[in-house]
C-alpha cells in the first residue's frame, strides 16, 4: 500500500503498443486536472487500471470520484492531463471518434438513468438496436439473457416507474452489459439501497467479473461493498490518490485519514467545525 502522505508516484508513460504482459494496463489517467468554475475537483490525478481487475475508487463525497469515472469514458474532458484507453489517448478525441471506444464500456449510473419513456425491454435492447444488426428475435433472446443474469427475466414489459430502486439498478446493469463490454463502470452502485439489496448488487458485480471477465471500476463510499468487490482499493482526497492497496491493506492501514474513512469516523477538526457552526 502506498503511503497516504507520500506524493503520488511519478507520471507513468502511456502503455507501449503490443504489450504482452498477462494483464496490461487498460485505462490510464495521467496528471489529470479538472475544475468546475473555481472548484478544483481533480488535481493532478494519476491512475492505472489493469485489464480484468476490479478496482474500487473510495473517498468522501465531493472528492471527484464520479468525475474521474466520467473521464474514463470521455463524458468529461480534463482541463489538463491525459486519459488513455489501451493505447488510444481519448481525451483529445472528438465525440464521433469516441463512440466506437465507448462501445467497449458499460456504465451503471448512480440512479440507473433508465429511459423512463421506455419499457425495461426497450431500455436493455436500446444499445443492441443502436450498434448491432441483430434480428429482432435475437434481440429478444439477448435481452432475456441479460435480464436473467441480473435476476430480472420476466420484467421486460414493465416501465421503470414500476420498479423499486434496487430493480432499477439491476435493469440498468443489464443495459450496461448489453453489448458485452470490456469495462464496466459503476457509479455508487449501492447508494440508496438497503443492506440486503446492496449485497445483491455486490454479488452481481462479482458474478459479472467472473462470467464476463470484464474490468470493473467501482466508485463508492460503501466500505462493505468496497471490501467485497475490490481486488484493489484506491482512495481519493482533494483530487488526488492518497492511498491504494488491497482490501487487507486498507483494513490494517495506519494512515489516519484512511482509518477514519474505513471506520466511518469524522475527524476532531470536522466535529469542532460543526460545533462552531451550531453555536
Amino acid at each position: 500500500m502506498t503511503s497516504p502522505a507520500a506524493p503520488q508516484q511519478p507520471t507513468p508513460k502511456p502503455p507501449a503498443a503490443g504489450s504482452s504482459t498477462p494483464h496490461p494496463t487498460q485505462l490510464r489517467l495521467v496528471d489529470v486536472h479538472k475544475s468546475f468554475g473555481s472548484l478544483v475537483v481533480l488535481n493532478g490525478l494519476n491512475l492505472d487500471i489493469r485489464e480484468r481487475e476490479s478496482i474500487v475508487i473510495l473517498g468522501p463525497s465531493g472528492t471527484g470520484k464520479s468525475v474521474l469515472l466520467k473521464h474514463l469514458v470521455g463524458l468529461l474532458k480534463p482541463d489538463r492531463g491525459e486519459v488513455y484507453f489501451r493505447d488510444t489517448r481519448i481525451d483529445t478525441l472528438p465525440e464521433r471518434q469516441l463512440e466506437p471506444i465507448r462501445e467497449h464500456f458499460g456504465f451503471l449510473f448512480q440512479m440507473g438513468a433508465l429511459f423512463d419513456s421506455m419499457s425495461v425491454f426497450e431500455n436493455v435492447a436500446f444499445p443492441m438496436r443502436e450498434h448491432r444488426n441483430y434480428p429482432e428475435r435475437d434481440i429478444r433472446d439477448r435481452v432475456a439473457q441479460k435480464l436473467a443474469m441480473v435476476g430480472l427475466d420476466g420484467t421486460q414489459g414493465k416501465m421503470p416507474g414500476e420498479l423499486s430502486g434496487g430493480m432499477k439498478k439491476r435493469v440498468a446493469l443489464a443495459r450496461a452489459i448489453a453489448l458485452d463490454p470490456d469495462v464496466v463502470l459503476y457509479d455508487e452502485p449501492t447508494t440508496g439501497l438497503d443492506p440486503i439489496r446492496a449485497d445483491i448488487i455486490n454479488e452481481l458485480i462479482l458474478k459479472l467479473n467472473e462470467e464476463l471477465h470484464v474490468t470493473s471500476v467501482v466508485v463508492t463510499h460503501d466500505m462493505a461493498s468496497a471490501f467485497k468487490v475490490g481486488d484493489r482499493l484506491v482512495m481519493l482526497s482533494e483530487g488526488k490518490v492518497i492511498a491504494e492497496g488491497t482490501p487487507d491493506d486498507f483494513r490494517h492501514s495506519s494512515n489516519e485519514e484512511v482509518r477514519r474513512f474505513v471506520d466511518g469516523k469524522a475527524s476532531p477538526e470536522e466535529l469542532a467545525a460543526l460545533e462552531r457552526k451550531a453555536r
Binding site: L75, F109, A113, F115, P127, E130, H131
Partner: protein, 272 residues
C-alpha cells in the same frame, strides 16, 4: 467588477450562447441530412403525435375565436364606409398570412416548446443524456432530431387547421351574426387570397417550427441542475421562442414582400 465590465461580460456570454446555439442547430441539420438512424425514425411518429395531433384542438379553438374577433372589430369600420362586403378579404388575408402562423407558433411554443425543454431537461438532470452518450449514441441524433422533424412537419399542418378555423370564425361572425352577404364575402376572399399569400403563411410556419424545436431542445440540453434549473429552462425556452417568432415574422414578411415586388413589380407591394 465595474458596470462596464459587467455589460461587456454579459454581451460576451450572450454571443457565446448564440454561437453554441448555432452549433447545436447545425448538428441537428447535419444529422437530418446524414440520416438519424432507426431509433430517431421510430421516435418521429410518436413525436408528431405529441407535437401535432394533441395540439390540434387548442390551435383550432384559438384560430376560430381570433377570426371571430377580427370580424367583430372590422365590421363597424367597414360598414361605416359601406364596404362591409369586403370584410372577408381582410379577415382571411390576416388569418392566412399573419395570425394563423403566428398564433399557431405561439401556441406551439407554449404547449410543445416548454414540454420539450422539460422532458429533455429532466433527462439531463437524471443523467439519461449522459447515459446515451456513454452508450455511444449522440443525444442530438436520438432526441433532438425526431423532435425537430416533428415540429417542422406538424407546424404547417397545424397552421392549416388554424387558418381554416380562423376563416370559419370570421365567416360565422360576419355572415351569420352581423349579416354580411355570404356570396360577396366569399367572392372578395377568393379574389384577394393568392397562392403566394398562402405560401407566405406556410414558409413562416416552417421557420417557426424549426425555431421552437431547436430552442426547446437547446434549452433542455443546457438546463441547470435540479427542478429549479429545469423550470428556469422551460421559461427561457418559451420567452425566447415567443420573441424569436415575432422577430422572424417581421423579417420573413419583409423578405417575402421584397421577393414579391421583385417578380411581380407591377402588382404593388403586399407587405406581409
Amino acid at each position: 467588477m465595474t458596470a462596464v465590465e459587467q455589460v461587456g461580460k454579459r454581451a460576451l456570454d450572450w454571443v457565446d450562447a448564440l454561437g453554441d446555439y448555432g452549433r447545436f442547430t447545425g448538428s441537428i441539420f447535419a444529422w437530418v441530412f446524414r440520416g438519424p438512424g432507426r431509433f430517431a425514425r421510430r421516435q418521429l411518429l410518436s413525436q408528431m403525435y405529441e407535437v401535432g395531433t394533441l395540439s390540434i384542438p387548442v390551435v383550432m379553438i384559438t384560430g376560430a375565436f381570433i377570426g371571430a374577433v377580427l370580424a367583430i372589430e372590422a365590421d363597424p369600420q367597414f360598414r361605416a364606409i359601406g364596404l362591409e362586403s369586403r370584410i372577408g378579404s381582410v379577415i382571411n388575408i390576416s388569418v392566412v398570412k399573419q395570425i394563423g402562423p403566428v398564433l399557431t407558433g405561439v401556441m406551439l411554443a407554449g404547449r410543445v416548446g416548454g414540454a420539450l425543454t422539460a422532458e429533455l431537461g429532466t433527462m439531463k438532470v437524471t443523467e439519461q443524456i449522459d447515459a446515451l452518450r456513454a452508450m455511444a449514441t449522440d443525444p442530438v441524433r436520438a432526441l433532438a432530431v425526431p423532435r425537430f422533424g416533428a415540429c417542422l412537419i406538424m407546424m404547417p399542418i397545424l397552421t392549416i387547421f388554424s387558418d381554416l378555423l380562423g376563416m370559419f370564425g370570421g365567416w360565422f361572425m360576419a355572415v351569420q351574426m352581423l349579416g354580411v352577404d355570404a356570396a360577396s364575402y366569399w367572392q372578395n376572399s377568393k379574389d384577394s387570397l393568392e397562392i403566394y399569400t398562402i405560401n407566405t403563411g406556410f414558409i413562416k410556419a416552417l421557420f417557426f417550427g424549426a425555431a421552437i424545436a431547436s430552442i426547446g431542445c437547446y434549452k433542455g440540453f443546457h438546463c441547470g441542475s435540479g427542478a429549479q434549473g429545469v423550470g428556469r429552462a422551460c421559461t427561457e425556452a418559451f420567452v425566447t421562442s415567443f420573441i424569436t417568432i415575432l422577430v422572424m415574422n417581421f423579417f420573413i414578411a419583409m423578405a417575402m414582400n421584397s421577393i414579391y415586388t421583385m417578380f411581380w413589380p407591377n402588382t404593388g407591394s403586399i407587405l406581409g
